[in-house]
């Protein structure tokens, strides 16, 4: 029997950004970069573990917007285009760096990496990365959980119907993507308020994750702290985030990703190289962007950077994985001594941390899993569902309202920059509920309009927009997205109420905002 359990949870999410009306759209790069730098590397890590017969458990939330984008033919096509451009750039770089071996080797490294990504994406999985992740779930190694339909910030929804629609729509979409029901959910922004669990139970979802204080401040006091889940009074389990393991990865002072041997994110040839040389590879409007080709290591705190040495970085990733394992062993042993039972250490992270920001992150996970399998016997890796299966007896307590945002509650999403959105979102919700109740059996065109109304409301609710407004960057885009979805919603509402649906315009809205083709607007009734 192990003395404890460790559950790594990666939250993979990007807001739904898809602009068929533009040939090139800067924000779509979020997806392309995450595919190349995070999702494909994670798939490669899992492929390797399965190939080498290393038993492992990993949990990932894959949000409905992310899955929708990964399954979208237009974005898949554009991703291939993006990769093709990158490969061309890498070829130019091989040529340019010919006389400088370290850089030349790195140019080849990127060239091979991009080729490999294209092979994995196109040939390995037929452009369907959702299917790739699904494969590992079906092998019993990866547990995939869902999220809110559009990552809506649930505690600030005035209408319970909206919370319900976010959760049930996500459940439905999960079924389509993964062929089964989700057992767990990552609440958007980890934001929980009492009552949300009622809709989770309705969706058949058995557990969710809160930030540390969501479980710690539960009532009654959880005997085992965050080292065991609690059952909310309705039977849905809540798992609290472990702070210690988070800190080792996240902390600015102690975090692994800041090591001098790791690749520096900021030195990118998109900014470093001559404008005319790089222009074909950045945004067509001449906006310099990150290309993903980066030749330097962090080196130190100054702006002086040495070139990146892949081998050193790999050695460091292995060493950090060993350190992470060592610390988990010590943590588990200590907690086991106190609790007199096997603690669960739940360590959630943004998936995009691994690979995109921390370039060597996927290798860190790879080393950590392998070392865990072969170099120790104190703990085993698990997923929350597997843990509950093996430990069905837990304490009953009411989890506390909480989020993983700054200061732990709603402040990030409700402050001076973004408070204005809620009035509009709430009125749209009033209207959606009104429509859903008024039209239980609509005709074909009205049904299309009702479904589109639901899509526009869902897209307007993405927490990403409020978040961006708060952080003060790409604000215009977030404001525009919020307004556009609300304005489209209002126009549909007016047209349905007036009995005058403008079909060509409705078709254009369906073409732009094509998420959830089968959305069930009756959830709002």
């Amino acid at each position: 029997m192990p003395k404890g359990y460790v559950a790594l949870v990666l939250h993979a999410h990007l807001p739904f950004v898809r602009h068929p009306e533009h040939e090139d759209f800067l924000e779509e790069d979020w997806l392309y970069e995450a595919i190349t730098e995070t999702y494909i590397p994670l798939i490669k890590v899992m492929e390797g573990l399965v190939r080498d017969n290393v038993d492992f458990r990993l949990t990932m939330s894959m949000t409905p917007p992310l899955c929708s984008m990964l399954l979208d033919p237009l974005l898949q096509e554009r991703y291939v285009r993006h990769l093709t451009r990158l490969i061309a750039l890498a070829e130019k770089e091989i040529e340019r760096t010919k006389w400088d071996k370290p850089f030349h080797d790195l140019a080849w490294f990127y060239h091979n990496r991009f080729h490999d990504a294209r092979a994995t994406f196109c040939d390995g999985y037929g452009r369907n990365l959702v299917g790739a992740f699904r494969k590992f779930q079906e092998l019993g190694k990866l547990e995939i959980i869902t999220c809110g339909a559009t990552h809506g910030f649930l505690p600030l929804m005035e209408h319970p119907q909206c919370v319900r629609a976010q959760i049930l729509t996500a459940r439905d979409h999960y079924r389509q993507c993964f062929g089964c029901d989700p057992k767990g959910i990552w609440l958007p922004e980890c934001a929980y308020a009492p009552g949300i669990e009622d809709f989770l139970a309705e969706a058949g979802i058995r557990w969710f994750i809160t930030d540390t204080h969501g479980v710690m401040f539960a009532n009654p006091r959880p005997r085992y702290g965050v080292y065991a889940p609690i059952f909310a009074p309705n039977g849905v389990a809540a798992f609290g985030r472990d702070v210690e393991s988070s800190k080792q990865v996240w902390s600015a002072e102690e975090g692994y990703p800041g090591d001098v041997d790791y690749r520096d994110f900021y030195r990118d040839i998109g900014f470093d190289l001559d404008f005319d040389y790089i222009k074909p590879h950045i945004h067509p409007d001449g906006i310099r962007t990150f290309t993903g080709i980066k030749y330097h290591r962090i080196t130190g705190k100054s702006q002086y950077k040495e070139y990146y040495v892949r081998q050193w970085a790999m050695e460091k990733a292995a060493s950090h994985a060993g350190n992470f394992m060592f610390n988990r062993i010590k943590q588990v042993e200590h907690l086991h001594g106190v609790l007199q039972r096997a603690p669960l250490i739940l360590a959630p992270y943004d998936a995009e941390l691994y690979g995109h920001w921390w370039f060597e992150g996927p290798e860190f996970i790879n080393f950590f899993i392998r070392k865990t399998a072969f170099d120790q016997q104190t703990y085993t890796l698990t997923t929350p569902t597997e843990y509950l299966r093996n430990h069905p007896t837990q304490q009953i307590a009411q989890p506390a309202a909480s989020s993983w945002g700054h200061k732990g509650h709603w402040e990030v999403w409700l402050e001076g920059s973004n408070a204005w959105i809620y009035q509009h979102l709430h009125v749209a919700a009033d209207r959606m509920i009104e429509l859903a109740r008024q039209y239980p059996n609509p005709d074909g065109l009205t049904e299309r309009a009702l479904k589109q109304a639901a899509r526009e409301l869902l897209l307007a609710q993405s927490s990403d927009w409020a978040f961006i407004m708060k952080t003060g960057t790409t604000v215009q885009y977030a404001v525009k997205r919020t307004k556009d979805h609300l304005l489209r919603f209002n126009r549909i509402y007016d047209q349905i109420k007036a009995g005058k649906i403008d079909e060509p315009w409705l078709a254009s809205a369906e073409w732009r905002d094509n998420i959830f083709p089968d959305v069930n607007y009756h959830y709002y009734a």
Binding site: E21, E23, L26, E27, L74, E77, E95, W99, D100, L156, E158, A201, G204, R206, T212, P220, R223, G225, G235, S246, W250, A252, G255, G258, D264, Y266, R267, D268, D272, L273, F275, D276, Y277, P280, F290, Y295, E306, Q340, P348, D350, E352, W357, L388, R389, P392, Q394, A401, H406, H409, W410, A419, Y422, Q423, H426, V427, T473, T474, L487, W505, W511
Partner: protein, 427 residues
């Protein structure tokens, strides 16, 4: 880049390259690249573009003898790789609907629903907004005995408000500090009538501030709830004991405590639990409260989004931890300016020709093009470029001369250059 434009570019490039072939081999282009970078957190997106600035006389003086011809020839050879959408894939894409310009207009300032929305933003702060126009508030105010519309916030089951405020004409929301965590509040909007009664315009739902400490309630009730038995099945097992408004886990727990037979293994007998253990757990967790990791995913996500604007360009990092420390690089505060220059020489000839730059042989690409990219520090440079035909041995030669003189005050820095660039030599 849209495809038609690209095709045009390629076509132009090919034409100009042909001309170049017939003339001299070498073309030199000087570039002065500059970047105005701003502090990452506070500036709008557009300002972050690295701009190409014309060489100002005080910054860098290009030699008049340099042949500065800007053409796309050097990039022409890779053009086919930028073919963006294969014809087959294009055919698959949904045709663009007719309505592209939507003219969506603007959202209204208010809907006049009268909604009063109350939320507990954190353990000690309430947020309230009201959906009423200033005009409507004015109308209510005129009906009031004292000309005021007031917002009142109550703690649940308390008659006296914990806070009361007069609505300003143009105010739309209110942030109200409250003392009690884990407490339920309501808000109401209204005015005092002349008869002394309070006329409620709108009432909010209840909002409960989150708890901010470990619960003093140490009751521990455990239930066995197998994760693979659905809630429906569990409910059917306890149905005859189920009460309206009853909670499933609590009902299961009560039945399990009395020895009720469940169709699965129940084990709610836990090991002993001592006050010492409880104290240790509290100690560990109290520490965690204080050490709550602020550099969390949200901060990272913020950064991920921000850097896509190009706001965090090379070497600059504002740091996303609350104390301003960063992982790589020192934040630049306030306005700053940096400029630098690089030198690119490129050209083309017959693919089998031999070309030397400053006496050193140059390897041509398969289409006969070549390019060199150097740093361009202050100094005078002379670079002879010679091409010899592979067939006839006929030679063409050109000498490129450059001079850079940078005159700047202390307040202007240099943009970092790729470490792999070398000096052009030829001094």
């Amino acid at each position: 880049m849209p495809k038609p434009k690209l095709a045009e570019t390629i076509s132009r490039a090919k034409q100009s390259r042909t001309k170049v072939f017939r003339k001299q081999a070498a073309i030199a282009v000087q570039k002065v690249s500059g970047a105005i970078k701003r502090h990452a957190m506070r500036k709008p997106a557009k300002a972050r573009v690295t701009v190409k600035v014309k060489p100002a006389s005080k910054v860098a003086v290009p030699s008049k003898k340099a042949n500065a011809i800007a053409i796309a020839a050097a990039t022409g050879q890779a053009a086919h790789k930028f073919d963006m959408v294969p014809a087959k894939a294009k055919a698959k894409q949904t045709p663009k609907p007719v309505v592209t310009d939507e003219n969506l207009g603007e959202l209204p300032d208010t809907y006049n629903t009268g909604r009063l929305f109350l939320a507990a933003r954190d353990p000690h702060l309430l947020f309230v907004y009201w959906d009423l126009s200033g005009q409507k508030i004015g109308e209510y105010a005129r009906q009031a005995s004292d000309g005021r519309v007031v917002l009142r916030v109550f703690e649940k089951n308390h008659a006296a408000p914990v806070a009361e405020a007069t609505l300003a004409h143009d105010a739309r929301n209110w942030y109200l500090p409250v003392s009690k965590a884990a407490t339920t509040y309501t808000a109401e909007l209204g005015f005092w009538r002349h008869n002394g009664s309070f006329n409620v315009i709108s009432r909010s739902r209840e909002a409960t501030t989150p708890p901010d400490e470990i619960s003093s309630n140490t009751t521990a009730r455990f239930a066995t709830i197998p994760v693979d038995i659905s809630f429906d099945e569990l409910l059917s097992i306890v149905r005859q004991y189920h009460k309206d408004g009853g909670q499933l886990a609590e009902e299961i727990q009560q039945l399990q405590a009395t020895g009720f037979k469940f169709p699965f293994h129940v084990d709610v007998e836990l090991g002993p639990w001592s006050p010492e253990q409880a104290a240790k757990v509290e100690h560990i967790l109290s520490g965690d409260v204080l050490r709550r990791v602020q550099v969390g995913s949200v901060e990272l996500t913020e950064w991920l989004r921000r850097r896509l604007d190009g706001e965090t360009s090379s070497g600059m990092f504002s740091g996303f931890s609350p104390d301003g420390s960063s992982w790589s690089g020192v934040p630049q505060k306030g306005f700053w300016f940096a400029v630098n220059a690089e030198l690119i020489i490129y050209g083309a000839t017959e693919p089998d020709a031999k070309v030397t730059v400053d006496g050193k042989p140059v390897e041509l690409r398969s289409d006969g093009t070549f390019s060199f990219h150097w740093t361009f520090p202050d100094g005078k440079y002379r670079l002879p470029v010679v091409a010899a035909s592979g067939k006839t041995g006929e030679q063409r030669a050109v000498e490129l001369r450059f001079e850079r003189q940078t005159q700047t005050g202390d307040a202007v820095g240099q943009v970092g250059q790729p470490a792999n660039l070398k000096s052009p030599g030829g001094k």
